[in-house]
Amino acid sequence: MGKRFSGTKTWVMLLALILFSASARPDIVVIVNAASNVEQLSRDDVVNIFMGRYRKLPDGTSVMPLDIKGDAPEKKDFYKALLDKNLPEVNAYWARLVFSGRTSPPLILEDADQVLKKVTLDPTVIGYTTDSGTREGVKIVYRLPVTSTP
């Protein structure tokens, strides 16, 4: 009986491990160049910058947000965690602003590596990436926990 319970327990733990590993996704972090004077942003700052409302850092520096082309997982996670929006909704939002001439969308780069590289080299941009270890040349200014699959 005890052996059978132990077997059940093992299966439950294994299942929990599988479920946990399927849903455990790294946080998304908003990054700026390491030389930036800004140490931390609020959620409103990040929304204002990435959604084209007001593209200045709290120290008054203008920044250009960077985005990733297509429907990369990082991109889905970023907008889901920041706005609880899926990519078609974000695209519709930008269609409204762009075709009425209000503002331009973020600068689109091919992938997350290019975003990281650009932020490392350029103090006038801001980007996002997954939090996967130490990164040289950039500074994390906001963290977005990813709690579920997009």
Binding site: D44, N48, L83, A92, Y93, S100, S104
Partner: protein
């Protein structure tokens, strides 16, 4: 083999060719800003209804309408292209053209935006050229189907573009963002009223002035706008020398009736209070406008919609209405068979000023692939004094005895951006 091409087709080809040609001619990127961007948008849409004698139009900028038992592809279908050249971080030139059914009953493209933008700072921007009318929320993206939840935005009696300038100021305030905007210029565009029997009214050159205060906080945006439109041109029917004007002038109350229907130098004042919410799966808009002009009954405009995303599908419901009283002025002639035709004509002439039309919409948007959305909606429309609907049967009755009628329209649209 010679190619048979009409001047209109040539015009269409030239406008779109120039936009795409200019786009192709520019290469390379600046530091953080592309040198140019070339984008497009469009809608392939069909509408259907089964009301005899009624023509359904998307708005009053269209000459023709969808007839009974015919799927019309021309009311909602359109194609647009936008080219922006970024000359400098502070300067931008943008041109946008749209091909859609117009007052001449063709699809010739129209320049809907064409401006130079100067943005010396993140907080300030100035634009000069052809601009979109932004008096109600999302009004400046009315033709961008992909950007909107319902297939059609509410109908406005005034044109959607003007030549002039606007200035905008943005700044964080508290936890939100404040946006102030002022605009002024001269409207552009032609309109055809529901009762004008195809007569085109040119709004060109009418003075347009206004301003907007907007505050965005989290998912909420609140907004107040106010402005004035001063019409420049007179409607054809009472232009100097017209037989209709001569006939009206002979009526005992003719001068009063002419004052009501005259457009030349008419000042129209409007105020709009609106709020929108867009956060997570829920989005909605509520907008209330008040419009007044001398000798006209005050008019109220209500517009609202709410949608809730369920996976790739967003069901929505929308309600809009335009409402005003109907203070008819009699011709001053006695009633009786001998004067019936004249008396009815005098009432009909005034009915074009009144608007009583509402639209309840139930629909769904399906985002099935990147940058494309399929929408289906049913419009339950009710009208006594229609703004966009052309109903020939109304002309058989005296305008002061019109009753509320209904029209149900089924619409399917594929919206896309590229």
């Amino acid at each position: 083999m010679p190619i048979d091409i009409s001047p209109r087709q040539l015009h269409t080809a030239v406008v779109f060719g120039l936009l795409f040609g200019l786009g192709s001619a520019c290469h390379g990127d600046t530091e953080n800003l592309p040198r140019f961007s070339l984008r497009g948008f469009g809608t392939l849409g069909g509408v259907y209804h089964n009301d005899e004698g009624t023509l359904f139009r998307r708005d009053i900028g269209q000459a023709g309408g969808a007839r009974r038992d015919q799927v019309s592809l021309v009311q909602d279908s359109m194609l647009g292209a936008q080219l922006s050249l970024f000359l400098h971080e502070q300067f931008e030139i943008t041109a946008q053209a749209i091909s859609r059914l117009n007052t001449e009953n063709n699809l010739n493209p129209q320049l809907t935006w064409g401006y130079v933008k100067y943005k010396p700072d993140e907080a300030v921007s100035l634009r000069i050229g052809r601009l979109g009318v932004d008096t109600y929320m999302q009004g400046d993206s009315a033709q961008i189907g992909y950007a909107n939840l319902p297939i059609r935005q509410p109908i406005t009696f005034y044109p959607r573009i003007f030549d002039g300038m606007d200035a905008e100021f943005n700044h964080p305030l508290g936890d939100g963002t404040l946006r102030l905007k002022g605009f002024g210029g001269w409207t552009q565009g032609k309109l055809i009223g529901s009762l004008s029997a195809g007569a085109v009214y040119d709004t060109g050159g009418s003075q347009f002035l206004g301003g907007i205060v907007e505050y965005a906080l989290y998912g909420w945006t609140g907004r107040f706008s106010a402005g004035q439109l001063r019409m420049r041109n007179e409607i054809d029917t009472i232009s100097p020398g017209s037989p209709e004007l001569a006939a009206l002038q002979m009526l005992p109350n003719g001068a009063q009736i002419i004052d009501v229907i005259s457009q030349k130098n008419r000042e129209i004042n409007f105020q709009t209070l609106a709020a929108s919410y867009d956060s997570g799966p829920l989005q909605g808009i509520f907008s209330f406008s008040f419009l007044e002009s001398a000798q006209w009954p005050d008019r109220t405009l209500l517009y609202s919609h709410v949608g809730y995303r369920l996976g790739p599908v967003t069901p929505y419901i929308s309600y809009s209405s335009q409402h005003g009283s109907r203070p008819f002025i009699s011709s001053g002639l006695p009633s009786g068979p001998a004067f019936n035709a004249i008396n009815q004509a005098a009432l009909l002439a005034q009915s074009g000023v009144f608007v009583n039309q509402s639209d309840l919409i139930v629909g769904a948007r399906y985002d099935f692939i990147d940058n494309m959305a399929l929408k289906f909606q049913v419009d339950f429309m009710r009208y006594k004094d229609p703004e966009s609907i052309i109903d020939a049967d109304l002309l058989t009755q005296s305008a002061d005895r019109w009753t509320t009628r209904s029209l149900t329209v089924f619409s399917l649209a594929l919206d896309f951006v590229f």
